[in-house]
C-alpha cells in the first residue's frame, strides 16, 4: 500500500508538470514594402550551376505570404541559457541543392548536430563564419561525398555559412542554448512547443527586417499562449 501511494503521488506530480507546459504560437507579419528581390545572375550564368536551376533564381530576403505573413523569422525565448537538449535532439539538415542552400535560415540548439548534404553534382566548399566564438571551418565537399557534421557550443544569431566556390550561396544558422524556439513558415506562423509555465520575453528576429529582434512579453499558463509580431520595413 505504501508503495502504491508513493507511485500515485509521483504520477500526480508528473501530471501537474505536464499540465504546466504549453505552446506559444503566433504569426509574424511585415508592414511596409520590401525592396524587390534580385535575379541571382552569377548562378544563372554559371556553366554547371546554371543547368541545375529552372526558371530565374532570385534572392529571397523577404518571403512574404498571404496576409503579409513573413517567413524565415527566428522566434525564441530570451534570457534562458544552459537548458540545451541539443546533444539528444535529432540532427538538423542543411542541403546544397541547385547551387543554393536549402533552407537558407534555420535554427538549432548548442550541441545539436547540423548535417550538411551536397545534393549537387558539383563541388562546394562549406565555410562557416562565426562572430560569437564558434570555430570557423572551411571544408571541401565534392559531389557524392559523405555528409558533413557541424556542432556549435556557443549561442549565436545568424551564424553565416557560405560557399566560396559559388559566391552567391549563403545560409544563416541561429544557435540557441535551449529548446524554446521556432522559425516561421511561409505564412509567417510559428509554434514554440512545451514551454513551462511562467512569464517570458519572446524575441522575433529577421535577418533583414529585424536583425536585433523585436520583443514581446508572454505569460504561459495551462493553455497555449499567443504572441504575434509585426515587423516594419522602413
Amino acid at each position: 500500500m505504501k508503495i502504491s501511494s508513493v507511485i500515485a503521488v509521483i504520477a500526480g506530480i508528473a501530471a501537474v508538470q505536464v499540465a504546466s507546459a504549453a505552446n506559444i504560437t503566433g504569426t509574424v507579419t511585415l508592414n511596409g514594402t520590401p525592396p524587390p528581390e534580385k535575379e541571382i545572375t552569377p548562378l544563372k550564368e554559371d556553366a554547371t550551376c546554371g543547368k541545375l536551376t529552372e526558371g530565374t533564381p532570385t534572392t529571397h530576403f523577404f518571403v512574404v505570404g498571404a496576409n503579409k505573413g513573413l517567413a524565415d523569422v527566428v522566434v525564441m525565448l530570451k534570457g534562458i541559457s544552459g537548458k540545451s537538449t541539443g546533444a539528444s535532439a535529432p540532427p538538423v539538415e542543411l542541403n546544397q541543392k541547385g547551387c543554393q542552400y536549402v533552407p537558407s535560415i534555420l535554427a538549432l540548439q548548442t550541441g545539436q548536430k547540423l548535417i550538411v548534404k551536397n545534393s549537387d553534382p558539383v563541388l562546394h566548399n562549406v565555410h562557416s563564419l562565426s562572430a560569437a566564438g564558434n570555430p570557423d571551418k572551411n571544408i571541401a565537399q565534392m559531389a557524392g561525398s559523405p555528409d558533413l557534421t557541424f556542432t556549435f557550443d556557443k549561442p549565436e544569431n545568424f551564424l553565416k555559412f557560405k560557399c566560396d566556390v559559388h559566391g552567391w550561396m549563403f545560409a544563416w544558422i541561429t544557435v540557441v542554448d535551449h529548446p524554446y524556439f521556432a522559425v516561421t513558415d511561409k505564412d509567417g506562423k510559428f509554434t514554440i512547443k512545451n514551454v513551462p509555465a511562467g512569464k517570458y520575453t519572446v524575441v522575433a528576429m529577421h535577418r533583414k527586417a529585424a536583425p536585433t529582434g523585436v520583443e514581446k512579453e508572454v505569460e504561459v499558463k495551462d493553455a497555449d499562449a499567443t504572441a504575434d509580431f509585426t515587423l516594419e520595413v522602413k
Binding site: 525592396p35 554559371d46 554547371t48 534572392t59 563541388l123 566560396d164 566556390v165 559566391g167 549563403f170
Partner: protein, 378 residues
C-alpha cells in the same frame, strides 16, 4: 672609375618580372572581387593535390580564380628567384644586389601571407597581403629602372663646370616638388591600404550611389539609418551587413581621392613651371622632360582612377571594373614612386634659377678628388 656596363638581358628580365607582377595583381584582385579568397580551403596543397597537379574538374567557380592566382604567384616567385640570382652574380652595384634579395624575401613573405590567410581562416591577413603586393610591384619596377640603360645615362651627381671663365657654378632647383611628390605618393599608398581594408570587409558597396552618398553630400550614419540601409540592400555575393564604420571608410576613401587628384594636379602644374633656361649640358634636358612627361602620365592615371571608382559604384561593384580600379591604383603608386626615385637620385641636381659662386680651382679639385676616390656611382 668606369660606369658599370649595361646588361640588356638582365634589364629585360627585370621588366618581365615587373610585368608578371602586374598580371598577378590583376589575378589576385579578381580573387577578392569575386569573393573567392577561400575557395581552395587548404594550402600549400589544393584540395589535397599538389598545387601544380590539380585536376581540371576542380577548376570551376571561385576555385578557377583562386587556383589561377596561386599558379601565377608561383610563376612570379620563380621569376623573382631567377632575377635575384642573376643580380647577385652579374650586377656590380651592391645596393642593387641587396634590393634583389629584399625582393626575394618579400615574395616569399607574400606567399606565406596568402597561405596563412587560408589555413588560419583569417580574412584580415588579406589586407596585409594586398598592401605588400602593391609594394612588391613598386620594388620590381624599381629594379627594372635601376637595370635600365636610361638610368645609367642620367647626369653625373657632380655638376659640370661651365665655361664662363669665372668658375661660377650655376645650380638648378626642383624646388620642393620632389618632397611634394613623395607626400602625394604616400597619400596614394594610404588610399590603397584604405581600399584593401574596404574590399576585405566583404560587405559589397557600403554606399551604393555616387557622387552623392545615400542621396546626400554626407550620409547619415546613426543606427536607425544604417538599419534602413541594410533593409533596403539586396546583395547577391557580399552578404555581410554594412556598418557605420564601413560607410565612414568609403567616405574617407572618396575624400582622399580628391586630395590625391589635387596633389597630382599640383605636381603637373609645378613641373610645367620649370624654366628651360638653366638646363645643364649633360643630359639634364632629357631628365627634366622625362619627369614632366611622367607627371602628365601620373595625372592621367589619377583621372582614370577616379572614373573607375565611380564606375565601380555605378556597376554595383562589377568584378572586372573593381579589379581594373585596383590595377590603375597600383600604376598610380608606382608612377609616383618612380618619380620620387628619379628626382631624389640627384638631390643637388636642380632645375631653376639659383647661382652659387665658388672658385673654379676649388671646384676642379673637388671633382678630381671625388673621381680618384671612385665615389661616383650611378
Amino acid at each position: 672609375m668606369n660606369a658599370p656596363s649595361h646588361n640588356p638581358w638582365l634589364h629585360r628580365f627585370a621588366v618581365l618580372t615587373a610585368a608578371a607582377t602586374f598580371l598577378l595583381l590583376g589575378v589576385g584582385g579578381l580573387v577578392t572581387s569575386k569573393g573567392a579568397g577561400m575557395a581552395v580551403p587548404d594550402w600549400p596543397t589544393s584540395y589535397g593535390y599538389n598545387m601544380f597537379a590539380l585536376p581540371f574538374k576542380f577548376w570551376q567557380g571561385g576555385v578557377l580564380y583562386e587556383h589561377s592566382h596561386r599558379l601565377v604567384a608561383s610563376g612570379v616567385g620563380l621569376l623573382t628567384t631567377i632575377l635575384v640570382v642573376w643580380l647577385w652574380v652579374k650586377e656590380p652595384r651592391r645596393w642593387v644586389k641587396w634590393l634583389g634579395v629584399i625582393a626575394f624575401f618579400a615574395v616569399v613573405l607574400q606567399g606565406v601571407l596568402g597561405g596563412l590567410r587560408v589555413v588560419w581562416l583569417k580574412d584580415e591577413i588579406g589586407i596585409f597581403h594586398a598592401t605588400l603586393a602593391q609594394l612588391f610591384f613598386v620594388l620590381t619596377c624599381a629594379l627594372a629602372l635601376f637595370t635600365s640603360r636610361w638610368w645609367r645615362t642620367l647626369p653625373s651627381p657632380l655638376p659640370p663646370l661651365l665655361s664662363d671663365g669665372r668658375g661660377e657654378q650655376q645650380s638648378f632647383s626642383l624646388g620642393n616638388l620632389p618632397g611634394f611628390v613623395l607626400a602625394t605618393t604616400l597619400l596614394i599608398l594610404c588610399q590603397l591600404i584604405l581600399g584593401a581594408t574596404m574590399r576585405h570587409q566583404h560587405a559589397g558597396l557600403a554606399i551604393p550611389d555616387f557622387p552623392l552618398a545615400y542621396g546626400k553630400l554626407w550620409p547619415a550614419m546613426d543606427a536607425d539609418s544604417v538599419a534602413r540601409y541594410n533593409q533596403q540592400r539586396v546583395e547577391i555575393v557580399a552578404a555581410n551587413p554594412i556598418t557605420a564604420f564601413q560607410i565612414s571608410l568609403q567616405m574617407a576613401h572618396r575624400l582622399m581621392a580628391v586630395g590625391i587628384l589635387i596633389g597630382v594636379g599640383a605636381v603637373v602644374w609645378g613641373a610645367r613651371r620649370w624654366s628651360p633656361r638653366f638646363s645643364v649640358s649633360d643630359g639634364g634636358d632629357s631628365l627634366k622632360a622625362g619627369l614632366q612627361r611622367l607627371a602628365f602620365v601620373w595625372f592621367g592615371l589619377i583621372l582614370a582612377q577616379v572614373a573607375l571608382g565611380a564606375w565601380t559604384i555605378w556597376s554595383n561593384k562589377a568584378a572586372d571594373v573593381a579589379t581594373a580600379h585596383v590595377l590603375v591604383g597600383a600604376l598610380s603608386l608606382v608612377t609616383g614612386a618612380l618619380w620620387c626615385i628619379i628626382s631624389f637620385r640627384r638631390p643637388v641636381t636642380q632645375f631653376g634659377c639659383k647661382s652659387v659662386s665658388t672658385s673654379a680651382r676649388d671646384l676642379r679639385e673637388t671633382v678630381f678628388k671625388a673621381r680618384a676616390a671612385g665615389s661616383v656611382s650611378k
